[in-house]
């Protein structure tokens, strides 16, 4: 079987579900003949026709808003935004409507929508093309927020997202769209949502990261291993609702934790993870949880993006600091 990239796994999942379910409609800017700016919908229009794979006029509010109407009528819209930096006009519909229809109508109407967007920095893109503002969505009641970090998880989680009866924000880490290849059988098997994945087992410290930041996190874990520190690496994958249990189970072993994300630190998702660890697992900790994040600045143009993004060195340094603190307490 051929090995495929993360973005090809997205295409494979879309094609699988369009084949299986005539209610699935894929649309967005340039998703048709062009296959989307990252080619995530490549070949779908040819295969499924322009009645199901539609190029829209350039209007993000509209892209988000019509999904609500389609979904309440029983379709399964999968809407693409070209970049997360252009999703802000759509927030109104996601926040004011998609996430609320089920509750607002006490279950009469629901919004089984997937809003897809490539996100994150590191591809030398122009301004507004490198955003990582997932915390905006995580705060909104009624949504699911899913971030895959490998081809297999992109395939399995996207299938789950399309099949889910509620709205899902599906953020694709574009920096690793083509970084890894993996065999991903087109089995139609979804992966569970609301469930974290342990990517690497270890007994000395728990590292929590998602999306492209896992690349540096796993690299850091290898370096640390050479230094005799065994890091457990957890990919929450569904950022909301968050599977805190898997994290706590890990802390039972490691008693130390670092959270890594590209997004700005202030009110970033790391803050929520740390708060929940404090609430549920304070006694397990041997040191305060550290965060390694983007800075509380505007995402810089690409000449400085390497300085902005949390790199391996920053992760390793944070791990050492946490470990030293724990040792200093004589535990």
């Amino acid at each position: 079987m051929a090995e495929i990239t993360l973005v090809q796994a997205v295409t494979q999942a879309l094609a699988h579900e369009m084949q299986a379910d005539p209610r699935v409609i894929v649309y967005g800017e340039d998703v048709g003949i062009n296959g989307g700016v990252f080619r995530a919908t490549e070949g779908l229009q040819e295969r499924f026709g322009s009645a199901r794979v539609l190029d829209t006029p350039l209007a993000e509010t509209m892209i988000a808003g019509i999904a609500v109407g389609m979904a309440v009528q029983g379709l399964r819209p999968v809407a693409e935004f070209q970049f997360m930096g252009f999703i802000y006009p759509a927030l109104d519909h996601i926040l004011s409507h998609a996430g609320r229809f089920r509750n607002r109508t006490r279950g009469r109407l629901s919004c089984p929508i997937v809003y897809r967007a490539p996100y994150g920095g590191g591809i030398h893109a122009p301004e507004h093309h490198s955003e990582s503002t997932e915390a905006l969505f995580a705060h909104i009641p009624g949504l699911r927020l899913v971030v895959p970090s490998s081809p297999a998880r992109a395939y399995g989680l996207l299938l789950a997202a399309i099949r889910d009866p509620d709205p899902v924000i599906f953020l694709e880490p574009k920096r690793i769209y083509r970084a890894v290849r993996q065999e991903v059988p087109d089995s139609g098997q979804a992966l569970p949502l609301d469930c974290a994945f342990v990517l690497r087992e270890g007994s000395d410290i728990t590292l929590i990261a998602w999306g492209a930041a896992l690349k540096e996190t796993l690299e850091a874990a290898e370096l640390l291993a050479a230094d005799g520190i065994q890091a457990e690496v957890i990919d929450p994958a569904t950022l909301k609702p968050l599977d805190i249990h898997t994290i706590i189970d890990s802390l039972e072993k490691t008693h130390c934790c670092v959270v890594i994300h590209e997004a700005a630190r202030f009110c970033g998702l790391g803050a929520e993870v740390v708060a929940q660890i404090n609430e549920y697992a304070f006694d397990l900790l041997e040191a305060p949880v550290q965060r390694v994040t983007g800075y509380d600045t505007v995402m810089p143009y690409y000449q400085l993006e390497a300085e902005y993004l949390p790199g391996v060195a920053r992760i390793v340094a944070a791990v050492k600091e946490v470990r030293d603190y724990a040792k200093g307490r004589g535990l």
Binding site: L54, I66, R108
Partner: protein
């Protein structure tokens, strides 16, 4: 100074439609649907809308309802829209649509529940596929475009009958991108969508004249490449005819339309507003002389179809219906506190269980 020579490329007209003038006189031959029975039925529904509205304001004043947006003066639009739609069509309302909701079969107690702060009111027992009221301005017009897409798709590919989406909004809604993005897409994709603008002359305190430099709101259709028509929104016959034509056009694959129904808000914006701060008594008085109920009543009287006896009988009947609705609303027990979690997701994720139990335990 050199004045360049230019060639006209396109020109447009905006038409308006009226059957009954301000004195209740016909201005042209009435359409076929305007039989005595149907006109009396419209008069009845408009009267009911006015009573439901009036009671809502009273109940708000006595703490039995929250903030309520009255549709006093717009009854002909709501009833005309509701009557022009097929039962199977899908309505996407803004919040000032008591008349249309009643016409769609939404129960009085459901309307009161919504404004009484109870989501269960939006779980319509009839009109199950109609959208709930939308408080954010104009967003529902985009939902209407999405609904229209789904209806067209299901008709073409899943063997479902041809149906139409109808979305309403106020004059203020036409200033928002959502409105324009919706009609632009609907025109582009030839969606079965009818957008009805209740031009009641005010967006809270902003008069229509300061909302836009456009002479009519109907002409906004031109930018989207779709038909636009202005109707006398105080003339239920004109509203029903215009919406009905647009619905038939959409059902037959002819694409979307925009209808501007010109009316007047004879009340405060909501019970939390005081319209005397921004509108003059003369303007209001003049508007009362054009209002839709008296207009139809005068016509019916003149045609020998109505009189004081019928009016008394109708008021008695509607009062009973209203009182029953009020009772049903008052007697509905409060929703369980945990209901706020029950419909947040199809299945409550485990991550919320602790909060759910906290609410259940009341601590």
């Amino acid at each position: 100074m050199h004045k360049p020579r230019m060639q006209p490329l396109a020109s447009f007209d905006i038409a308006s439609l009226q059957y009954l003038d301000e004195r209740g006189q016909t201005t042209q031959t009435l359409p076929d649907f305007a039989t005595p029975d149907s006109l009396i039925a419209h008069y009845r529904q408009m009267s009911l809308a006015r009573m439901v509205d009036g009671r809502a304001v009273k109940m708000q004043r006595t703490g039995q309802l929250g903030t309520y947006p009255s549709s006093l003066g717009q009854e002909a639009i709501g009833v005309g829209v509701g009557a022009a739609m097929g039962e199977e069509d899908v309505y996407c309302p803004n919040y000032r649509e008591t008349g249309a909701l009643l016409e769609r079969g939404v129960a009085i107690e459901e309307i009161y529940a919504i404004w009484g702060g109870d989501e269960r009111g939006q779980n319509f027992r009839h009109a199950r596929e109609d959208l709930p009221l939308s408080v954010p301005i104009a967003t529902q017009i985009l939902h209407g475009a999405g609904v229209a897409f789904a209806l067209k798709y299901k008709n073409a590919h899943l063997n479902e009958p041809a149906r139409v989406a109808v979305a309403s909004g106020g004059d203020g809604a036409t200033s928002r991108g959502d409105f324009y993005e919706a009609i632009n897409l609907a025109g582009d994709w030839k969606l079965p969508l009818v957008v009805v603008i209740n031009n009641n002359q005010w967006a809270i305190s902003l008069p229509r004249s300061e909302q836009t430099a456009c002479k009519t709101l109907a002409q906004k259709a031109i930018a989207a490449g779709i038909p636009g028509l202005q109707v006398d929104g105080n003339d239920v016959i004109a509203v029903r005819q215009a919406v009905s034509d647009a619905v038939v056009l959409a059902r037959n694959g002819g694409g979307p339309s925009l209808i501007e129904a010109v009316s007047y808000r004879l009340c405060d914006h909501t019970t939390a507003d005081d319209a005397s701060r921004y509108q003059s008594e003369e303007t209001l008085r003049a508007a009362w002389s054009r209002e839709p109920l008296v207009r139809l009543r005068t016509y019916l009287d003149g045609a020998g179809l109505w009189g004081d006896n019928q009016e008394e009988e109708l008021q008695r009947e509607l009062t009973q219906i209203l009182e029953q609705g009020v009772r049903n609303y008052r007697e509905t027990p409060r929703d369980a506190a945990t209901a706020m979690f029950d419909h947040l997701y199809a299945t409550l994720p485990e991550a919320f269980l602790e909060q759910y139990q906290q609410l259940q335990g009341g601590d």
